[in-house]
Symmetry: C2
Subunit: 330 residues, 2 copies
């Protein structure tokens, strides 16, 4: 790995501060144990169900921390976000709690449930075409027009710190149970959840291996970690994991992730559908495709053999009913 | 209320002993908070998700405690149970942990998932016709033939004590949060979960009102509480709540419940389907019809206005995929 990228000033302390800021409004999700999953995997699995988070995914944590970190006079002018859905809902929910306006730039083909949920929070929606328009340019233009602050979906230290509270809570709850974490599986798109969670886990439990998990066609972080520099995805790639479709890792997130992640694991759409079905039938949890990639890696045997418990982040549950029904019918 | 029935010798101590016995194998389910549910109801709701229990429902608690309470020489001869499904799985799972044989008398029309799960645990299945055969007589005959012990689904002090650990954990976790429980909603069939849970809750928090919740046509406990004596259901009644279809309350359970329950609430099949859909979409939980009656009572406004938080027992998640899909399609 070359050292061209400087490691950003991002530490456990940032995540601990975020934990204090989000505590009044974020759901403190538990760690769940499932005997049937433990038997199937042959190791104890501690499930972090972020589908129970406010708005149904971990994204509220980073969004709320980013808004809370702004000076009040800046926050009052409002916020703008571009997002495939869950970050949109996180920013809209945080903006509503602060009583400030939010404009959300969303792909026109995002799940209807996510678009409606975002609108219901009082946010203004600006739809765009995922394959022909540049969402970042639209977001920047809106930000300049209105004097509103852009809240990036991942490549931002306050957002990363907020997402890192997932790892901080997991480390604390596993320690309280007296269970050493051998491996942690984190869904990965731009890498904010992975960077925050891995930073917290490695600070609290340095020998734990943290693995990013990505869908086939969007394994940019896995390849970037191997190559030691940023790699992009083929623009023609498609996946059922609508929440995990980015062009390449963030510059900040990757500069952190290269130091704290062990590697990246890659799962197929079929693995993901099987994981969604297993979650509904056996775990009794409704998990969205992007939220289920860690479970998919575990059930399909992609996690290398190891010891200690497995920390499994199920990052969200905002699934379109049709996809859940298709998975359940398998 | 007349005093013809003597109150059975059943106290918090029995439930605390059960908690110690089941601790090595039962899942210690958490209390969950959901901001969207709190907003919808206008009160804080603390969800006790027993769908995360071993085998997907609270029934393992009572079954394991009943087996653990038998003398070893008796337990070795095996156990027999008659059950609409979840009790069957609980007894089969407990018998497997103890390494003793189990015969389960199950309705031939029970959900296929429940029959298969029970068989997969190594239990022998004896199917019967729910409307023409007497499951208790079949169970007793099998018990006499084989010298095996009958584990009743509800009308048994050890079973009631095991189910009561649901209430014991709820009271402890609510107290740890510093949240006073105004009301507790418990699904009710024969009344074992209600009797155990209400006994624990009232011992720890005497001013909390505990409500049994039943489906229309099977409101025997609600009517029995009002009448002050055991009332039966119309044998022609039907419900989607396959886990809550009994003829009348148990003698032991009712003798406890008349002292510890405030009243019984009654919900329709439509209320239950709406609750299953809400649970999947918003709570991200897969709840079976009988497990969702408390949520149905809450969402349909059947809980009288009160103060303090609401403790909500979601008692199981073993739903047939077709029913979940029908609910989700609403």
């Amino acid at each position: 790995m070359d050292d061209a990228t400087e490691r950003p000033p991002f530490t456990l302390h940032d995540i601990e501060q975020a934990a204090e800021r989000i505590a009044p409004f974020a759901v403190r999700t538990p760690l769940l144990d499932n005997p049937a999953l433990n038997e199937r995997v042959g190791r104890r699995v501690l499930i972090k169900p972020e589908l129970f988070q406010r708005m149904g995914s971990f994204k509220f944590r980073g969004a709320y921390n980013a808004l809370a970190s702004l000076p009040q006079v800046v926050r009052w002018r409002g916020v703008v976000a571009f997002s495939s859905g869950n970050h949109a809902q996180g920013v809209a929910a945080a903006a509503r709690l602060f009583g400030v306006p939010a404009v959300i730039v969303m792909p026109a083909d995002a799940p209807a449930a996510k678009i409606e949920a975002t609108r219901a929070l009082g946010a203004e929606i600006r739809p765009y075409d995922r394959w022909s328009e540049d969402r970042e340019a639209i977001g920047r233009a809106l930000s300049e027009e209105r004097g509103a602050t852009l809240i990036p979906p991942f490549d931002d230290l306050a957002v990363m710190a907020g997402q890192g509270t997932v790892g901080l809570e997991m480390a604390a709850d596993a320690a309280a149970l007296g269970v050493p974490l051998g491996d942690v599986l984190v869904p990965c798109s731009g890498g904010g959840l992975a960077a925050g969670t891995a930073t917290a886990i490695k600070a609290k439990s340095p020998n734990t291996r943290v693995h990013a998990v990505e869908p086939e066609g969007f394994d940019d972080t896995a390849r970037s970690l191997e190559a030691g520099h940023l790699c992009s995805n083929d623009p023609s790639a498609r996946s059922i994991c609508d929440a995990l479709m980015v062009a390449q890792p963030g510059a900040l997130t990757f500069a952190v992730n290269r130091h704290v992640l062990s590697d990246g694991l890659v799962v197929s759409d079929v693995d993901v559908m099987d994981a969604i079905a297993f979650a509904a039938r056996t775990l009794k949890l409704v998990v969205e495709p992007g939220g289920a990639v860690g479970l998919a890696a575990l059930l399909s045997g992609r996690l290398p053999v190891g010891d200690g418990a497995v920390g499994l982040v199920l990052s969200g549950g905002n699934i379109d009913p049709q996809i859940l029904q298709a998975a359940f019918a398998r």
